[in-house]
């Protein structure tokens, strides 16, 4: 039985090896093409993880055709400028609005002169002035979509509760998750006494991050939670809520740690104070890095298909991408859980009440 299996395995292995060596042989003359594909993939990955002013599903680089739709651009530059991003023609054209000229360069809008010149510094970043860009970008658009989705889902769940104690419809699936957040995240970390106040935030942040992560895994090529701005905003809200709910005890633990000798108190105060800022910073970086890395790895592996351009490499990469996608599904949930859990933990620190004042 075992030898039979071994023979089979070897046959397949040899077959694969020969096929791939054939394929490699064919590709020798296509070295330049390969390098081009690599550069193209790099750019595609870079563009994928970036926010954008248009929603593009497919892009044919040979014909230069884009399949998708443009989003509105809203600029504040000594007055409001509103126009459609389609006017940029994917960065090829300069847009004139109320006497100002704007150019789209690497998904960012810069103010230029009429001919659209950009002054680049040594890092390759333009030094041109950037107008305040309040555009409805791809991410803003997706945030709105997720918001509407959440309102429909959870509003529906709330409505189904009006009829009785048993939830009906799609919301039913989310009810145990809501209970999990309450019973396993909020109550153990914040405490029975204060947890109610924080439930709305924890639920919103959990589902927002989870849904954003999941949308990131769809072929819509959106990257919401893998964007530093989004995670910064979320972490900042956690930070503000934590500081505003901090009681006397919380501040005392930061500036004048009870139960340690006074020289230690002086040493500990700045460390604790830095910790206050490090906590939300870690929240921000953790979510950003996890999701972004997931996207980059997944996109790169999918990109490998175009580099191999053969059946073996392609199918193996496909398999790898498939396995990674499943892993990313788990990461999507896990990161939402971690963000919510840590937020709850920080709120818990802020509202904690010590009866054992001298026990430290």
């Amino acid at each position: 039985m075992q030898s039979k299996f071994l023979i089979k395995f070897l046959t397949i292995f040899i077959f694969l090896f020969t096929v791939s060596s054939f394929a490699q042989h064919e590709k020798v003359e296509g070295e330049g093409e390969k390098a081009e594909a690599k550069a193209g993939i790099k750019e595609a990955v870079y563009h994928h993880i970036q926010d954008s002013h248009e929603f593009i599903f497919f892009h044919n680089s040979e014909t230069g055709k884009y399949y998708g739709f443009s989003l509105p651009v809203i600029l504040w530059d000594n007055g409001l400028h509103i126009f459609s991003a389609s006017k940029f023609h994917h960065g090829e054209k300069i847009v004139e609005s109320n006497g100002n000229y704007y150019k789209l360069y690497h998904n960012k809008i810069y103010k230029t002169n009429a001919s659209g010149d950009l002054k680049l510094n040594e890092h390759g970043h333009p030094e041109n002035e950037k107008p305040l860009d309040f555009s409805i970008t791809k991410n803003v658009f997706m945030i709105i979509v997720i918001g509407i989705l959440m309102l429909l889902l959870f509003g529906g769940l709330a409505k189904s509760f009006e009829k009785g104690y048993i939830a009906t419809g799609v919301g039913r699936f989310f009810e145990p998750i809501i209970l999990f957040i309450r019973d396993e995240i909020a109550i153990p970390n914040i405490g029975e006494k204060h947890y109610k106040k924080y439930m709305p935030f924890l639920l919103t942040v959990f589902f927002f991050i989870w849904f954003s992560n999941l949308f990131g895994l769809t072929p819509l090529s959106v990257n919401i939670t893998g964007n530093i701005t989004i995670t910064l905003a979320l972490a900042l809200i956690t930070f503000i809520i934590t500081q505003f709910s901090g009681n006397k005890n919380y501040w005392k633990h930061i500036f004048w740690m009870p139960g340690v000798p006074w020289p230690m108190k002086i040493v500990l105060a700045p460390i604790e104070l830095i910790g206050v800022f490090i906590k939300p910073f870690a929240l921000m970086i953790r979510l950003y890095a996890n999701i972004m890395a997931g996207h980059v790895v997944l996109m790169s592996i999918i990109g490998l298909i175009f580099i191999f351009k053969n059946w073996v490499g392609g199918s193996l990469t496909f398999l790898l991408a498939f396995v990674l996608s499943i892993l990313e599904l788990l990461v999507a949930l896990l990161q939402a859980y971690i963000f919510t859990m840590l937020s709850a933990l920080y709120f818990g620190f802020a509202v904690e009440e010590h009866e054992h004042e001298e026990a430290h």
């Binding site: 970036q50 926010d51 809203i74 960012k108 890092h123 970043h125 305040l132 860009d133 309040f134 555009s135 409805i136 970008t137 991410n139 803003v140 945030i143 709105i144 918001g147 959440m150 309102l151 959870f154 509003g155 769940l157 709330a158 409505k159 509760f161 009006e162 104690y165 009810e175 809501i178 209970l179 309450r182 109610k196 439930m199 709305p200 935030f201 639920l203 919103t204 927002f208 964007n227 530093i228 701005t229 989004i230 910064l232 905003a233 979320l234 900042l236 809200i237």
Partner: protein
């Protein structure tokens, strides 16, 4: 770090904060509050129902116990009553028997007495009758033979004495 700062977009930040807070507010109002309230009230309802069921079960058990007790008592009472009735019955029968005996004895006694009395009176009557008869006989004798009166009387007397009824 440089890349991170470069990636930061104020517009997106503004929208994210605004939209997130709006979403938080809307969801709190239209979803989380009603959902959590419903879940809470459901949990309380379940708890209450369980408590009530427990209480009902306890009451049931109590009721059953008391029922059994009452049944037991009733049975004991019935037993006691039956026993008493039997005793009373036996006593009544015995009493009736005794009384009947006494009555019968009394009646027999009375009958005996009256028989005796009747007998005595019959004997007396007969004696008198015989005496009268004797006198009549004597008179007839006397009328025929007045000669020896004394002798005659003695003879009668003698005859009467001999004729004493036993």
């Amino acid at each position: 770090m440089d890349k991170l700062i470069n990636d930061f977009s104020f517009g997106l930040f503004f929208w994210q904060i605004l939209l997130f807070i709006l979403l938080l507010w809307l969801l709190t109002k239209y979803a989380w509050k009603p959902i959590l309230d419903a879940v809470n009230s459901r949990e309380e309802g379940i708890k209450e129902a369980l408590e009530q069921a427990e209480k009902a079960r306890e009451e049931m058990a109590e009721l059953k116990a008391s029922n059994e007790k009452i049944l037991k008592e009733a049975r004991a009472e019935r037993e006691a009553m039956l026993k008493e009735a039997r005793i009373i019955k036996d006593k009544l029968i015995a009493e009736a028997k005794d009384e009947a005996k006494i009555q019968a004895n009394n009646m027999i006694e009375m009958a005996k007495n009256s028989i005796e009395l009747e007998k005595q009176s019959a004997i007396t009557d007969l004696k008198n009758h015989v005496a009268e008869l004797s006198v009549e006989i004597a008179e007839k004798v006397i009328k025929k033979e007045l000669s020896a009166k004394d002798q005659q009387l003695n003879l009668i007397k003698k005859m009467l004495d001999e004729a004493t009824l036993k």
